[in-house]
Assembly symmetry: C2
Homo-oligomer: 461 residues x 2
């Protein structure tokens, strides 16, 4: 049987698969920082070249931001049963760099006492390691059988970590070329290292930057302190006001469109082997910080949140400077669920902030992206095939889970191309994505490749 | 009369005086940033060499921080009537550098439409321009008469902008050498550009850095948002809680030791030609931000304050990063008045912060210095002499004013050496000290030198 031969080849070629992943990980494709634009381009070029080498018709497509990679196998003729695979080649910034135990862009394999191995590098899990599980699965099918069991189009973007600004217009402009029977996305996690998962609900994401300006120059706090408005104080008050004492978000109308869990889902989640203590304990915390009347699982899977991801104002260097700054700013993100409307929420947030700006101060907003929450229908045709393939590979039934993170592409596929998405990924909660010493389990990489090989086989049925 | 000849020489030699000031301004002696330690040392060396050239017995003295410059004229023999002049050669950092219209350490003279001139550079007003008014006055006396009318010891420190940590121990260790009949300090301002002032009350200063730690690593807000504690939120709440809606500081016991103005002082201040609108208007503001039941003059001269001089947490670079940081920190300063006790206040502040730290988070404090408020007695012997000299030079009676800033040395002179201090300076409110494009009026520099020449003459009487 050809699948068995494909799986055997995957096992045999794992070292070469790793070498290719390492080559991609060495490219510092940080999308949020314009200084790394050339590196983003280099990562796109590398991927297009790899796919061309496999026989894909691959191209790098310019956007107003970082380029897209689009590849077809075989060439489209409009009659095939086709799936669209999506991944992103951009990565998060690496600061604080001093907390990395090795160069974030010099990937290495670390071996634990129990013999298990992990791949350590920025992007190892998010999302280069994950997207390469699919590329390597395709490689094995083509090498072993001379082709893929189902026609495939691949779309890699380079702005996922910076708001995916070019994605909507690109899908719109290339809808005919990209439309497929279903989409496959590998940017999610497993339940634990032995139990695969399919993510069927995703929180949306709104990212806003707020800058408060008081005086038109920095002031000396000895001369002006006590009389002149300090934008640090204004901003701190705004940020502090975002939550009440019970952890509930206070922006008016924030919870509109947020449904309560159905009894069935609540029962299912309560039955899961999830420990809030362990979840928080792995990062050195004990007390859930969110809405005090919700479980931790509900907080991270089903409830909308507001987080201050960054704030800065005044002198923050070594020593002390008694300045009253002219400006202070914060980056604030909202995770959305259910039917919360990103546009309404952005307006409500702006009103909330403006109501707290003194008459002689001013405020500016910059949007870094806004996408609604999503739910994948339980009767989606690809879901059953994905479940079967994962069960075959891992020997246990995959769990249908919620996801706290946001993958804007899934909404865009639904809205713009009318496609359902199968969200399968092999990340783990402790992968430290977006943090120093990001890693990806060797077992995730290896069995991830095998899982995609199986899914491709199932999709042909 | 020799004073007239001294004044004439000052007028004649103004260009050379400016050249010497420019040489000192070119040295980037930023004391808060360890990267500039060599430059601080260079500024001390430069001053010692200048004073030696005038006939002072001058030396650079090491401390645990930046060095002191001590110079005597003539050598001490223990019998002379002597004054101690104090200034500081260190300057504030220059960020944000992009707001400077020219290199902060390449001094230049700018001429206004009305022909008036100003010296633009970091340290032009605070304190290099000011301390050089005294050095140039001494130079003119020595050049014209072969000596000074009164024996002088000069003390220049290099840590005034970073908490004056070495000053107390240095005074203690060198009390015999430094003790004098009175101290002269030139680090204060005029009432306006035509009206000199002597500062008779000074606020104290406590500077504290607070760092809140939540999780033991940075987290992804999609995975952990809503459940994990965000130190930005904890810190924002603490900072927001420092003031109530009326602008009053809420730290328990904060106002203990703060006296109300006497009726006489209140009447005097009400009679001053001070416009709160103009004071705030010069920096683009309109509404007083402090205690709502106090006048602006009271807020900046007679009331204690708390200001957040810096705060930072999470991702603050270009673009967006959906991180929940491990740490967030703030630099907070307190201006003290009356009998407020710095130590008690620091403890109250620490308690205030700790009460707002969740059980599974931690907080660290770093002190950057603490000094009490001061009042110069109205019957201080040097005060009358200073008044006379300033009236002679400026043609108007100098005002006795309060001062919002803090000059730790004045307290140290009182406490450790039992000396009164005459606080005379020629800065103006719009000198932009601690801000981009700091300047010092040419008239302040020129008439400042003449004023010190007259004060030296008076002190001999």
């Amino acid at each position: 049987m050809s699948l068995d031969a494909v799986l055997a080849r995957i096992d045999r070629d794992l070292d070469q698969s790793l070498e290719r992943l390492f080559a991609l990980l060495r490219i510092p494709s940080i999308s949020t920082d314009p200084a790394y634009a050339d590196n983003c381009r280099a990562a796109a070029d590398w991927l297009a070249a790899e796919l061309s080498g496999l026989g894909f018709s691959a191209s790098v497509r310019p956007t107003e931001g970082h380029p897209m990679v689009v590849a077809h196998y075989p060439e489209r003729d409009g009659t095939d049963n086709r799936v669209l695979f999506y991944g992103h080649y951009d990565v998060q910034p690496v600061d604080p760099l001093e907390l990395w135990q090795s160069d974030p862009f010099e990937p290495r394999i670390a071996t634990r006492d129990d013999g298990s191995k992990m791949i350590v590098a920025r992007g190892a899990a998010d999302d280069k390691g994950q997207l390469m599980t699919f590329v390597e699965a395709a490689r094995a099918w083509i090498a072993e059988t001379g082709g893929l069991p189902v026609a495939v189009t691949i779309l890699f973007e380079g702005e996922e970590e910076s708001g995916s600004k070019s994605l909507g217009p690109f899908l719109e402009a290339n809808a005919d070329e990209l439309k497929a029977g279903a989409a496959l996305v590998c940017d999610t996690g497993m339940w634990d290292k032995d139990t695969p998962a399919i993510s069927t609900s995703l929180r949306g994401l709104v990212t806003e930057e707020v800058t408060v300006t008081a005086a038109d120059k920095d002031l000396h706090s000895g001369l002006f302190g006590g009389a002149a408005r300090n934008p640090n104080h204004v901003l701190a008050k705004i940020l502090a006001d975002l939550h009440d004492a019970g952890g509930r978000v206070t922006v008016p109308g924030f919870y509109e469109g947020v449904a309560e869990l159905s009894d069935e889902v609540r029962r299912q989640w309560e039955g899961l082997d999830f420990s809030a203590e362990e979840f928080l304990g792995q990062v050195g915390l004990k007390l859930p910080a969110g809405e005090s009347d919700r479980s931790v699982l509900e907080q991270i899977w089903a409830r909308p949140t507001v987080e201050v991801n960054g704030m800065i104002g005044g002198y923050t260097g070594a020593g002390f400077k008694t300045v009253i700054p002219s400006k202070a700013s914060a980056k604030v993100s909202f995770r959305l669920v259910g039917d919360q409307d990103p546009k309404t929420l952005v307006e409500a947030f702006h009103d909330f902030v403006r109501a707290r700006i003194p008459e002689d101060c001013s405020v500016e907003f910059e949007s870094h992206g806004a996408s609604p929450a999503l739910r994948i229908p339980a009767d989606s045709p690809v879901l059953a095939k994905g479940k079967t393939a994962l069960q075959d590979e891992w020997g246990v039934e995959p769990l249908m889970i919620g996801m706290g993170g946001s993958i804007p592409i899934v909404g865009a596929f639904r809205e713009r191309l009318g496609m359902d998405t199968l969200l399968v990924g092999f990340g783990l909660d402790d992968d430290r994505i977006h943090s120093p010493n990001e890693k990806y389990e060797m077992s995730s990489f290896h069995k991830g490749i095998r899982s995609w090989a199986r899914i491709l086989g199932e999709l042909a049925n």
